[in-house]
Protein backbone atom coordinates (compact mmCIF):
# COMPACT_ATOMS: atom_id res chain seq x y z
CA UNK A 1 0.00 0.00 0.00
CA UNK A 2 1.39 3.40 -0.85
CA UNK A 3 2.24 5.94 1.79
CA UNK A 4 -0.21 8.40 0.20
CA UNK A 5 -3.10 6.08 0.82
CA UNK A 6 -1.95 5.33 4.35
CA UNK A 7 -2.08 8.97 5.39
CA UNK A 8 -5.59 9.72 4.16
CA UNK A 9 -7.83 10.86 6.99
CA UNK A 10 -10.97 8.84 6.37
CA UNK A 11 -10.40 5.08 6.74
CA UNK A 12 -13.29 4.14 4.43
CA UNK A 13 -11.77 6.35 1.73
CA UNK A 14 -8.43 4.62 2.19
CA UNK A 15 -9.88 1.12 2.10
CA UNK A 16 -12.11 1.88 -0.87
CA UNK A 17 -9.15 3.29 -2.80
CA UNK A 18 -7.27 0.03 -2.26
CA UNK A 19 -10.39 -1.93 -3.21
CA UNK A 20 -10.83 0.03 -6.47
CA UNK A 21 -7.18 -0.18 -7.38
CA UNK A 22 -6.17 -3.68 -6.33
CA UNK A 23 -9.39 -5.71 -6.56
CA UNK A 24 -11.08 -4.12 -9.59
CA UNK A 25 -13.27 -7.08 -10.54
CA UNK A 26 -14.91 -7.38 -7.11
CA UNK A 27 -15.16 -3.60 -6.82
CA UNK A 28 -16.80 -3.41 -10.26
CA UNK A 29 -19.37 -6.05 -9.29
CA UNK A 30 -20.24 -3.99 -6.20
CA UNK A 31 -20.51 -0.74 -8.16
CA UNK A 32 -22.82 -2.46 -10.66
CA UNK A 33 -25.35 -2.98 -7.86
CA UNK A 34 -25.53 0.76 -7.13
CA UNK A 35 -27.59 3.44 -8.80
CA UNK A 36 -25.53 5.09 -11.56
CA UNK A 37 -25.57 8.45 -9.77
CA UNK A 38 -24.28 6.91 -6.52
CA UNK A 39 -21.60 4.96 -8.35
CA UNK A 40 -20.49 8.12 -10.14
CA UNK A 41 -20.43 10.08 -6.89
CA UNK A 42 -18.29 7.40 -5.27
CA UNK A 43 -15.91 7.18 -8.22
CA UNK A 44 -15.72 10.97 -8.30
CA UNK A 45 -14.06 10.96 -4.87
CA UNK A 46 -10.91 9.32 -6.19
CA UNK A 47 -8.25 10.29 -8.71
CA UNK A 48 -8.68 8.78 -12.18
CA UNK A 49 -5.56 6.62 -11.67
CA UNK A 50 -7.22 4.93 -8.67
CA UNK A 51 -10.53 4.40 -10.46
CA UNK A 52 -9.24 3.27 -13.87
CA UNK A 53 -8.70 -0.46 -13.09
CA UNK A 54 -12.27 -0.80 -11.83
CA UNK A 55 -13.70 1.38 -14.59
CA UNK A 56 -12.13 -0.96 -17.15
CA UNK A 57 -14.01 -3.90 -15.59
CA UNK A 58 -17.45 -2.34 -15.29
CA UNK A 59 -20.05 -3.99 -17.52
CA UNK A 60 -20.69 -1.95 -20.70
CA UNK A 61 -24.32 -1.20 -19.85
CA UNK A 62 -23.18 0.26 -16.54
CA UNK A 63 -20.42 2.52 -17.86
CA UNK A 64 -22.94 4.08 -20.28
CA UNK A 65 -25.15 5.05 -17.38
CA UNK A 66 -22.40 6.17 -14.97
CA UNK A 67 -20.34 8.28 -17.39
CA UNK A 68 -22.90 11.12 -17.80
CA UNK A 69 -23.03 11.54 -13.99
CA UNK A 70 -19.26 12.07 -13.73
CA UNK A 71 -17.90 15.59 -13.98
CA UNK A 72 -16.45 16.23 -17.42
CA UNK A 73 -12.79 16.26 -16.30
CA UNK A 74 -13.11 12.89 -14.57
CA UNK A 75 -15.05 11.46 -17.53
CA UNK A 76 -12.39 12.62 -19.99
CA UNK A 77 -9.59 11.23 -17.78
CA UNK A 78 -11.33 7.84 -17.74
CA UNK A 79 -12.01 7.86 -21.48
CA UNK A 80 -8.35 8.69 -22.10
CA UNK A 81 -7.26 5.80 -19.91
CA UNK A 82 -9.34 3.33 -21.96
CA UNK A 83 -8.10 1.47 -25.03
CA UNK A 84 -9.42 2.94 -28.25
CA UNK A 85 -11.73 0.09 -29.14
CA UNK A 86 -13.72 -0.16 -25.87
CA UNK A 87 -13.69 3.62 -25.63
CA UNK A 88 -15.24 3.91 -29.11
CA UNK A 89 -17.74 1.20 -28.18
CA UNK A 90 -18.71 3.13 -25.05
CA UNK A 91 -19.11 6.40 -26.96
CA UNK A 92 -21.18 4.62 -29.61
CA UNK A 93 -23.71 3.67 -26.96
CA UNK A 94 -24.26 7.28 -25.86
CA UNK A 95 -26.68 9.76 -27.42
CA UNK A 96 -25.22 11.81 -30.24
CA UNK A 97 -25.23 14.99 -28.15
CA UNK A 98 -23.34 13.46 -25.25
CA UNK A 99 -20.93 11.68 -27.57
CA UNK A 100 -20.04 14.99 -29.27
CA UNK A 101 -19.52 16.71 -25.91
CA UNK A 102 -16.93 14.14 -24.91
CA UNK A 103 -15.28 14.04 -28.32
CA UNK A 104 -14.91 17.83 -28.30
CA UNK A 105 -13.26 17.72 -24.88
CA UNK A 106 -10.78 15.00 -25.81
CA UNK A 107 -7.38 15.87 -27.32
CA UNK A 108 -7.80 16.38 -31.09
CA UNK A 109 -5.67 13.40 -32.11
CA UNK A 110 -7.57 10.98 -29.87
CA UNK A 111 -10.95 12.40 -30.90
CA UNK A 112 -10.04 11.92 -34.58
CA UNK A 113 -9.06 8.29 -33.98
CA UNK A 114 -12.31 7.63 -32.11
CA UNK A 115 -14.45 9.33 -34.76
CA UNK A 116 -12.93 7.05 -37.39
CA UNK A 117 -13.68 4.02 -35.28
CA UNK A 118 -17.25 5.20 -34.79
CA UNK A 119 -18.02 5.49 -38.48
CA UNK A 120 -19.20 2.26 -40.01
CA UNK A 121 -20.00 2.04 -43.70
CA UNK A 122 -23.68 1.88 -44.70
CA UNK A 123 -25.21 -1.62 -44.91
CA UNK A 124 -22.86 -3.11 -42.31
CA UNK A 125 -23.60 -4.67 -38.94
CA UNK A 126 -22.08 -1.63 -37.19
CA UNK A 127 -24.77 0.60 -38.67
CA UNK A 128 -27.55 -1.89 -37.92
CA UNK A 129 -26.76 -2.58 -34.29
CA UNK A 130 -28.62 -1.28 -31.28
CA UNK A 131 -26.02 -0.07 -28.76
CA UNK A 132 -28.31 -0.25 -25.73
CA UNK A 133 -27.05 -3.48 -24.25
CA UNK A 134 -27.60 -5.40 -21.05
CA UNK A 135 -24.72 -7.63 -20.05
CA UNK A 136 -23.60 -9.11 -16.75
CA UNK A 137 -20.56 -10.77 -15.27
CA UNK A 138 -20.92 -14.55 -15.60
CA UNK A 139 -20.18 -15.16 -11.90
CA UNK A 140 -23.00 -13.15 -10.40
CA UNK A 141 -26.08 -14.91 -9.09
CA UNK A 142 -29.58 -14.99 -10.55
CA UNK A 143 -30.84 -13.15 -7.49
CA UNK A 144 -28.30 -10.33 -7.93
CA UNK A 145 -29.18 -9.97 -11.63
CA UNK A 146 -32.88 -9.70 -10.93
CA UNK A 147 -32.22 -7.07 -8.25
CA UNK A 148 -30.03 -5.08 -10.63
CA UNK A 149 -32.57 -5.27 -13.44
CA UNK A 150 -35.23 -3.97 -11.08
CA UNK A 151 -32.93 -1.21 -9.83
CA UNK A 152 -32.18 -0.21 -13.43
CA UNK A 153 -35.95 -0.21 -14.10
CA UNK A 154 -35.56 -2.52 -17.10
CA UNK A 155 -39.09 -3.18 -18.32
CA UNK A 156 -38.36 -5.35 -21.33
CA UNK A 157 -35.66 -7.97 -21.69
CA UNK A 158 -35.18 -10.29 -24.65
CA UNK A 159 -31.55 -11.16 -24.27
CA UNK A 160 -28.93 -11.32 -21.57
CA UNK A 161 -25.29 -11.64 -22.51
CA UNK A 162 -22.49 -12.78 -20.21
CA UNK A 163 -19.03 -11.32 -19.86
CA UNK A 164 -15.87 -12.70 -18.28
CA UNK A 165 -13.56 -10.70 -16.01
CA UNK A 166 -11.92 -9.02 -18.99
CA UNK A 167 -15.37 -8.09 -20.35
CA UNK A 168 -15.10 -10.53 -23.25
CA UNK A 169 -18.43 -11.89 -24.40
CA UNK A 170 -18.61 -15.51 -23.22
CA UNK A 171 -22.20 -16.74 -23.46
CA UNK A 172 -25.82 -15.88 -23.08
CA UNK A 173 -28.74 -16.73 -20.82
CA UNK A 174 -32.22 -17.48 -22.10
CA UNK A 175 -34.70 -15.30 -20.27
CA UNK A 176 -36.95 -18.24 -19.35
CA UNK A 177 -33.94 -19.98 -17.74
CA UNK A 178 -33.26 -16.85 -15.72
CA UNK A 179 -36.86 -16.70 -14.54
CA UNK A 180 -36.96 -20.36 -13.51
CA UNK A 181 -33.47 -20.81 -12.00
CA UNK A 182 -32.67 -21.00 -8.30
CA UNK A 183 -31.72 -17.59 -6.94
CA UNK A 184 -28.31 -18.76 -5.74
CA UNK A 185 -27.16 -20.12 -9.10
CA UNK A 186 -24.56 -18.20 -11.06
CA UNK A 187 -25.39 -16.96 -14.54
CA UNK A 188 -22.57 -19.12 -15.92
CA UNK A 189 -24.31 -22.24 -14.61
CA UNK A 190 -27.48 -21.53 -16.63
CA UNK A 191 -25.80 -20.07 -19.71
CA UNK A 192 -25.84 -21.43 -23.25
CA UNK A 193 -23.25 -20.89 -25.98
CA UNK A 194 -23.69 -17.95 -28.34
CA UNK A 195 -25.72 -18.86 -31.42
CA UNK A 196 -23.71 -16.49 -33.55
CA UNK A 197 -22.12 -13.05 -33.59
CA UNK A 198 -21.12 -10.31 -35.99
CA UNK A 199 -18.20 -8.02 -36.52
CA UNK A 200 -19.29 -4.37 -37.02
CA UNK A 201 -18.00 -4.50 -40.59
CA UNK A 202 -19.97 -7.59 -41.63
CA UNK A 203 -22.17 -6.74 -44.64
CA UNK A 204 -25.97 -6.69 -44.39
CA UNK A 205 -26.36 -9.83 -46.56
CA UNK A 206 -24.23 -11.81 -44.14
CA UNK A 207 -26.29 -10.54 -41.20
CA UNK A 208 -29.52 -11.66 -42.89
CA UNK A 209 -28.05 -15.04 -43.83
CA UNK A 210 -26.90 -15.67 -40.28
CA UNK A 211 -30.32 -14.85 -38.85
CA UNK A 212 -31.99 -17.17 -41.35
CA UNK A 213 -29.54 -19.93 -40.45
CA UNK A 214 -29.63 -19.58 -36.67
CA UNK A 215 -33.24 -18.45 -36.23
CA UNK A 216 -32.00 -16.39 -33.28
CA UNK A 217 -34.07 -13.46 -32.00
CA UNK A 218 -31.02 -11.30 -31.40
CA UNK A 219 -27.30 -11.65 -32.04
CA UNK A 220 -24.38 -9.66 -30.61
CA UNK A 221 -21.88 -7.49 -32.44
CA UNK A 222 -18.35 -7.72 -31.03
CA UNK A 223 -15.08 -5.90 -31.64
CA UNK A 224 -11.72 -7.50 -32.41
CA UNK A 225 -11.16 -8.27 -28.70
CA UNK A 226 -14.55 -9.98 -28.55
CA UNK A 227 -16.01 -7.17 -26.46
CA UNK A 228 -19.72 -6.58 -26.80
CA UNK A 229 -20.52 -3.49 -28.89
CA UNK A 230 -24.20 -3.85 -29.63
CA UNK A 231 -27.05 -6.13 -30.60
CA UNK A 232 -28.90 -6.72 -33.84
CA UNK A 233 -32.52 -7.84 -33.54
CA UNK A 234 -33.89 -10.31 -36.06
CA UNK A 235 -37.30 -8.62 -36.39
CA UNK A 236 -35.77 -5.22 -37.18
CA UNK A 237 -33.51 -6.74 -39.83
CA UNK A 238 -36.35 -8.60 -41.49
CA UNK A 239 -38.67 -5.58 -41.37
CA UNK A 240 -36.03 -3.43 -43.04
CA UNK A 241 -35.59 -5.88 -45.94
CA UNK A 242 -36.84 -4.51 -49.26
Amino acid sequence: MSATLATRADPTTTLNAIFLQQFPSTAARKLETMHARDAAELLGEYPATTVTPTWARLAPGVTDKVLPFLDIDKAIALLLAMDSSPCAALLSRLSEGKRDTYLESLPAERAKELRELLQYPADTAGRMMDTRIIAFDRDITVDAVIKQLRAQKVTELHHLFLLDDELHLCGQVEIQHLALADEERSLASISVPLRGYFSPLDPEEEVIATFEKTRAGALPVVDLDFRLMGIIYQDQVMEARP
Binding site: M1, A3, L5, A6, A9, P11, T12, T13, T14, L15, N16, I18, F19, Q22, F23, T26, A27, K30, L31, M34, D38, E41, L42, E45
Partner: protein, 285 residues
Protein backbone atom coordinates in the same frame (compact mmCIF):
# COMPACT_ATOMS: atom_id res chain seq x y z
CA UNK B 1 -22.95 9.16 0.24
CA UNK B 2 -21.37 8.03 3.51
CA UNK B 3 -23.61 4.96 3.36
CA UNK B 4 -22.45 4.13 -0.17
CA UNK B 5 -18.83 4.46 0.90
CA UNK B 6 -19.41 2.21 3.87
CA UNK B 7 -21.27 -0.27 1.62
CA UNK B 8 -18.25 -0.36 -0.64
CA UNK B 9 -15.93 -0.93 2.32
CA UNK B 10 -18.17 -3.72 3.60
CA UNK B 11 -18.02 -5.37 0.17
CA UNK B 12 -14.21 -5.17 0.37
CA UNK B 13 -14.17 -6.73 3.84
CA UNK B 14 -16.55 -9.51 2.74
CA UNK B 15 -14.61 -10.37 -0.39
CA UNK B 16 -11.03 -9.85 0.83
CA UNK B 17 -10.95 -9.72 4.65
CA UNK B 18 -7.22 -10.40 4.94
CA UNK B 19 -6.27 -7.70 2.45
CA UNK B 20 -8.63 -5.21 4.06
CA UNK B 21 -7.10 -5.99 7.45
CA UNK B 22 -3.54 -5.60 6.10
CA UNK B 23 -4.47 -2.17 4.72
CA UNK B 24 -6.16 -1.12 7.92
CA UNK B 25 -3.19 -2.13 10.08
CA UNK B 26 -1.20 0.66 8.51
CA UNK B 27 -3.57 3.37 9.69
CA UNK B 28 -3.55 5.00 13.10
CA UNK B 29 -5.35 3.29 15.97
CA UNK B 30 -7.91 6.12 16.04
CA UNK B 31 -8.67 5.64 12.35
CA UNK B 32 -9.05 1.89 12.81
CA UNK B 33 -11.36 2.48 15.78
CA UNK B 34 -13.42 4.99 13.77
CA UNK B 35 -13.94 2.45 11.01
CA UNK B 36 -14.60 -0.54 13.25
CA UNK B 37 -17.21 1.37 15.24
CA UNK B 38 -18.96 2.53 12.04
CA UNK B 39 -19.36 -1.01 10.64
CA UNK B 40 -22.11 -3.53 11.40
CA UNK B 41 -20.87 -5.86 14.16
CA UNK B 42 -20.53 -8.93 11.91
CA UNK B 43 -18.17 -7.13 9.53
CA UNK B 44 -16.33 -5.40 12.36
CA UNK B 45 -15.73 -8.77 14.02
CA UNK B 46 -14.59 -10.29 10.72
CA UNK B 47 -12.11 -7.46 10.31
CA UNK B 48 -10.89 -7.72 13.91
CA UNK B 49 -10.36 -11.47 13.52
CA UNK B 50 -8.34 -10.92 10.35
CA UNK B 51 -6.00 -8.33 11.85
CA UNK B 52 -2.66 -9.26 13.35
CA UNK B 53 -3.21 -9.41 17.12
CA UNK B 54 -0.84 -6.60 18.04
CA UNK B 55 -2.94 -4.19 15.95
CA UNK B 56 -6.32 -5.54 17.04
CA UNK B 57 -5.22 -5.28 20.69
CA UNK B 58 -4.49 -1.57 20.36
CA UNK B 59 -8.21 -0.98 19.91
CA UNK B 60 -8.58 -1.64 23.63
CA UNK B 61 -7.29 1.91 24.21
CA UNK B 62 -9.76 3.62 21.89
CA UNK B 63 -12.83 1.46 21.34
CA UNK B 64 -15.65 1.26 23.90
CA UNK B 65 -14.98 -1.77 26.10
CA UNK B 66 -18.47 -3.12 25.59
CA UNK B 67 -18.16 -3.01 21.81
CA UNK B 68 -14.70 -4.60 21.75
CA UNK B 69 -15.88 -7.29 24.13
CA UNK B 70 -18.87 -8.01 21.86
CA UNK B 71 -16.65 -8.22 18.80
CA UNK B 72 -14.16 -10.52 20.50
CA UNK B 73 -17.03 -12.77 21.53
CA UNK B 74 -18.03 -13.12 17.87
CA UNK B 75 -14.69 -14.44 16.64
CA UNK B 76 -13.29 -17.85 17.50
CA UNK B 77 -12.15 -18.10 21.13
CA UNK B 78 -8.65 -19.17 20.02
CA UNK B 79 -8.34 -15.98 17.93
CA UNK B 80 -9.89 -13.81 20.63
CA UNK B 81 -7.44 -15.14 23.21
CA UNK B 82 -4.44 -14.38 20.99
CA UNK B 83 -5.64 -10.76 20.84
CA UNK B 84 -6.47 -10.68 24.56
CA UNK B 85 -2.93 -11.74 25.43
CA UNK B 86 -1.68 -8.49 23.87
CA UNK B 87 -3.92 -6.44 26.17
CA UNK B 88 -2.98 -5.30 29.70
CA UNK B 89 -4.30 -7.73 32.36
CA UNK B 90 -6.76 -5.29 33.95
CA UNK B 91 -8.41 -4.38 30.63
CA UNK B 92 -8.24 -8.02 29.50
CA UNK B 93 -10.19 -9.08 32.58
CA UNK B 94 -12.82 -6.42 31.96
CA UNK B 95 -13.21 -7.44 28.32
CA UNK B 96 -13.61 -11.09 29.24
CA UNK B 97 -16.01 -10.25 32.07
CA UNK B 98 -18.24 -8.34 29.63
CA UNK B 99 -18.51 -11.29 27.22
CA UNK B 100 -21.58 -13.51 27.00
CA UNK B 101 -21.24 -16.52 29.31
CA UNK B 102 -20.20 -19.08 26.71
CA UNK B 103 -17.56 -16.94 25.03
CA UNK B 104 -16.29 -15.90 28.47
CA UNK B 105 -15.93 -19.52 29.59
CA UNK B 106 -14.11 -20.49 26.41
CA UNK B 107 -11.72 -17.53 26.65
CA UNK B 108 -10.99 -18.10 30.33
CA UNK B 109 -10.18 -21.73 29.64
CA UNK B 110 -7.80 -20.80 26.86
CA UNK B 111 -6.26 -17.87 28.72
CA UNK B 112 -5.42 -19.89 31.79
CA UNK B 113 -2.17 -21.72 31.30
CA UNK B 114 -1.23 -23.64 34.40
CA UNK B 115 1.66 -22.36 36.49
CA UNK B 116 4.97 -23.76 35.33
CA UNK B 117 3.90 -24.19 31.70
CA UNK B 118 5.43 -22.58 28.63
CA UNK B 119 2.21 -20.62 28.01
CA UNK B 120 2.29 -19.05 31.48
CA UNK B 121 5.88 -17.97 31.01
CA UNK B 122 5.98 -16.88 27.34
CA UNK B 123 6.20 -13.37 25.92
CA UNK B 124 2.67 -13.06 24.55
CA UNK B 125 3.07 -9.63 22.95
CA UNK B 126 5.62 -10.76 20.39
CA UNK B 127 5.57 -8.62 17.25
CA UNK B 128 4.73 -10.51 14.08
CA UNK B 129 4.69 -9.69 10.39
CA UNK B 130 2.17 -10.90 7.77
CA UNK B 131 3.64 -13.31 5.22
CA UNK B 132 2.33 -11.40 2.21
CA UNK B 133 4.04 -8.06 2.81
CA UNK B 134 7.08 -6.49 1.17
CA UNK B 135 10.30 -5.46 2.92
CA UNK B 136 9.26 -1.80 2.72
CA UNK B 137 5.91 -2.54 4.34
CA UNK B 138 7.58 -4.67 7.03
CA UNK B 139 9.94 -1.80 7.90
CA UNK B 140 7.04 0.64 7.88
CA UNK B 141 5.16 -1.62 10.31
CA UNK B 142 8.23 -1.90 12.54
CA UNK B 143 8.78 1.85 12.53
CA UNK B 144 5.17 2.45 13.56
CA UNK B 145 5.44 -0.04 16.41
CA UNK B 146 6.43 1.58 19.68
CA UNK B 147 6.46 -1.56 21.75
CA UNK B 148 9.09 -3.65 19.94
CA UNK B 149 12.03 -3.91 22.32
CA UNK B 150 13.33 -7.24 21.15
CA UNK B 151 16.00 -7.29 18.45
CA UNK B 152 15.72 -11.05 17.98
CA UNK B 153 14.18 -12.74 14.96
CA UNK B 154 10.68 -11.60 14.01
CA UNK B 155 8.13 -14.30 13.36
CA UNK B 156 6.23 -14.22 10.11
CA UNK B 157 2.69 -15.63 10.23
CA UNK B 158 0.04 -16.38 7.62
CA UNK B 159 -3.63 -15.44 7.80
CA UNK B 160 -4.32 -18.49 10.00
CA UNK B 161 -1.54 -17.32 12.33
CA UNK B 162 0.59 -20.34 11.46
CA UNK B 163 4.31 -19.57 11.57
CA UNK B 164 5.84 -19.37 8.09
CA UNK B 165 9.36 -18.42 9.16
CA UNK B 166 11.54 -15.94 11.00
CA UNK B 167 13.21 -12.88 9.61
CA UNK B 168 16.28 -11.22 11.10
CA UNK B 169 16.07 -7.47 11.61
CA UNK B 170 19.56 -7.00 10.11
CA UNK B 171 18.48 -8.78 6.91
CA UNK B 172 15.33 -6.72 6.74
CA UNK B 173 17.16 -3.41 7.03
CA UNK B 174 19.68 -4.35 4.35
CA UNK B 175 17.16 -5.62 1.79
CA UNK B 176 15.59 -3.73 -1.12
CA UNK B 177 12.16 -2.34 -0.24
CA UNK B 178 10.30 -3.96 -3.10
CA UNK B 179 11.42 -7.50 -2.25
CA UNK B 180 8.72 -9.76 -0.84
CA UNK B 181 9.27 -10.78 2.76
CA UNK B 182 9.11 -14.39 1.58
CA UNK B 183 12.52 -13.98 -0.05
CA UNK B 184 14.13 -13.13 3.30
CA UNK B 185 12.70 -15.39 5.92
CA UNK B 186 14.44 -18.49 7.31
CA UNK B 187 12.71 -21.59 8.58
CA UNK B 188 11.32 -21.04 12.06
CA UNK B 189 12.93 -23.07 14.84
CA UNK B 190 11.00 -25.97 16.25
CA UNK B 191 8.03 -24.58 18.18
CA UNK B 192 6.97 -25.35 21.74
CA UNK B 193 3.42 -26.07 22.83
CA UNK B 194 1.91 -23.60 25.29
CA UNK B 195 0.65 -26.41 27.53
CA UNK B 196 4.05 -28.08 27.84
CA UNK B 197 5.73 -27.73 31.24
CA UNK B 198 8.89 -25.64 31.55
CA UNK B 199 10.76 -28.60 32.94
CA UNK B 200 9.82 -30.79 29.98
CA UNK B 201 11.24 -28.29 27.47
CA UNK B 202 14.31 -27.31 29.50
CA UNK B 203 16.60 -29.81 27.78
CA UNK B 204 15.03 -29.50 24.34
CA UNK B 205 17.68 -29.43 21.61
CA UNK B 206 16.03 -26.32 20.13
CA UNK B 207 17.92 -24.26 22.74
CA UNK B 208 21.28 -25.33 21.32
CA UNK B 209 20.97 -22.94 18.41
CA UNK B 210 18.12 -20.57 19.39
CA UNK B 211 17.68 -17.95 22.09
CA UNK B 212 14.00 -17.51 21.40
CA UNK B 213 11.45 -20.09 20.26
CA UNK B 214 7.87 -19.70 18.97
CA UNK B 215 5.04 -20.97 21.17
CA UNK B 216 1.90 -22.46 19.64
CA UNK B 217 -1.60 -23.16 20.94
CA UNK B 218 -3.59 -26.36 20.41
CA UNK B 219 -4.49 -25.18 16.90
CA UNK B 220 -0.82 -24.77 16.03
CA UNK B 221 -1.31 -20.99 15.94
CA UNK B 222 1.45 -18.64 17.05
CA UNK B 223 0.68 -17.26 20.51
CA UNK B 224 4.04 -15.89 21.65
CA UNK B 225 7.73 -16.57 22.12
CA UNK B 226 9.76 -18.09 24.91
CA UNK B 227 13.36 -16.99 25.38
CA UNK B 228 15.91 -19.18 27.09
CA UNK B 229 16.46 -16.45 29.70
CA UNK B 230 12.74 -16.42 30.49
CA UNK B 231 12.71 -20.22 30.64
CA UNK B 232 15.53 -20.24 33.21
CA UNK B 233 13.80 -17.47 35.17
CA UNK B 234 10.51 -19.40 35.08
CA UNK B 235 12.11 -22.56 36.37
CA UNK B 236 13.84 -20.60 39.14
CA UNK B 237 10.51 -18.99 40.13
CA UNK B 238 8.91 -22.39 40.12
CA UNK B 239 11.47 -23.64 42.61
CA UNK B 240 10.91 -20.57 44.83
CA UNK B 241 7.14 -20.89 44.68
CA UNK B 242 7.26 -24.43 45.92
CA UNK B 243 6.69 -22.81 49.31
CA UNK B 244 3.32 -21.20 48.64
CA UNK B 245 2.84 -17.75 50.20
CA UNK B 246 0.16 -17.80 52.90
CA UNK B 247 -2.08 -15.13 51.31
CA UNK B 248 -2.27 -16.62 47.86
CA UNK B 249 -5.11 -18.73 46.60
CA UNK B 250 -3.90 -21.03 43.84
CA UNK B 251 -7.42 -22.30 43.12
CA UNK B 252 -9.07 -18.91 42.48
CA UNK B 253 -8.34 -18.88 38.71
CA UNK B 254 -9.51 -22.45 38.38
CA UNK B 255 -12.68 -21.70 40.33
CA UNK B 256 -13.51 -18.83 37.99
CA UNK B 257 -13.01 -21.01 34.91
CA UNK B 258 -14.97 -23.84 36.50
CA UNK B 259 -17.79 -21.46 37.51
CA UNK B 260 -18.02 -19.97 34.01
CA UNK B 261 -17.96 -23.41 32.41
CA UNK B 262 -20.77 -24.55 34.68
CA UNK B 263 -22.78 -21.43 33.82
CA UNK B 264 -22.28 -22.08 30.11
CA UNK B 265 -23.30 -25.70 30.59
CA UNK B 266 -26.42 -24.70 32.53
CA UNK B 267 -27.26 -22.12 29.86
CA UNK B 268 -26.94 -24.77 27.13
CA UNK B 269 -29.08 -27.16 29.15
CA UNK B 270 -31.64 -24.42 29.70
CA UNK B 271 -31.78 -23.70 25.97
CA UNK B 272 -32.01 -27.39 25.13
CA UNK B 273 -34.82 -27.92 27.67
CA UNK B 274 -36.66 -24.85 26.33
CA UNK B 275 -36.36 -26.17 22.81
CA UNK B 276 -37.54 -29.60 23.86
CA UNK B 277 -40.52 -28.10 25.68
CA UNK B 278 -41.35 -25.95 22.69
CA UNK B 279 -41.22 -28.96 20.37
CA UNK B 280 -43.39 -30.99 22.75
CA UNK B 281 -45.96 -28.16 22.88
CA UNK B 282 -45.93 -27.89 19.10
CA UNK B 283 -46.47 -31.65 18.70
CA UNK B 284 -49.37 -31.50 21.18
CA UNK B 285 -51.00 -28.82 19.08
Amino acid sequence: MADRKTDMTIAFIHAHPQEAARALEQLSTNQIADLVSSLPEAEAAQLLGSMLPQYAAKLADTLATELLSNLLAQISPAQAVIILRHIAPKMRKQLVDDMPVRAKAACLLLLTYAEGTVGACMHSKAFTLPDDCSVAEALQRLAAETTVHDTGPIHVVNSQRHVRGVVQLSKLIGAAGELPLASLWDAAPLALQGQATLLSVRDNLVWVSNDSVPVLNRHQQFVGTLSHARLRQGIAELATNMLQPADSDPTSGLTEVYGSSMLALLESLGEATGLWKKKREESKR
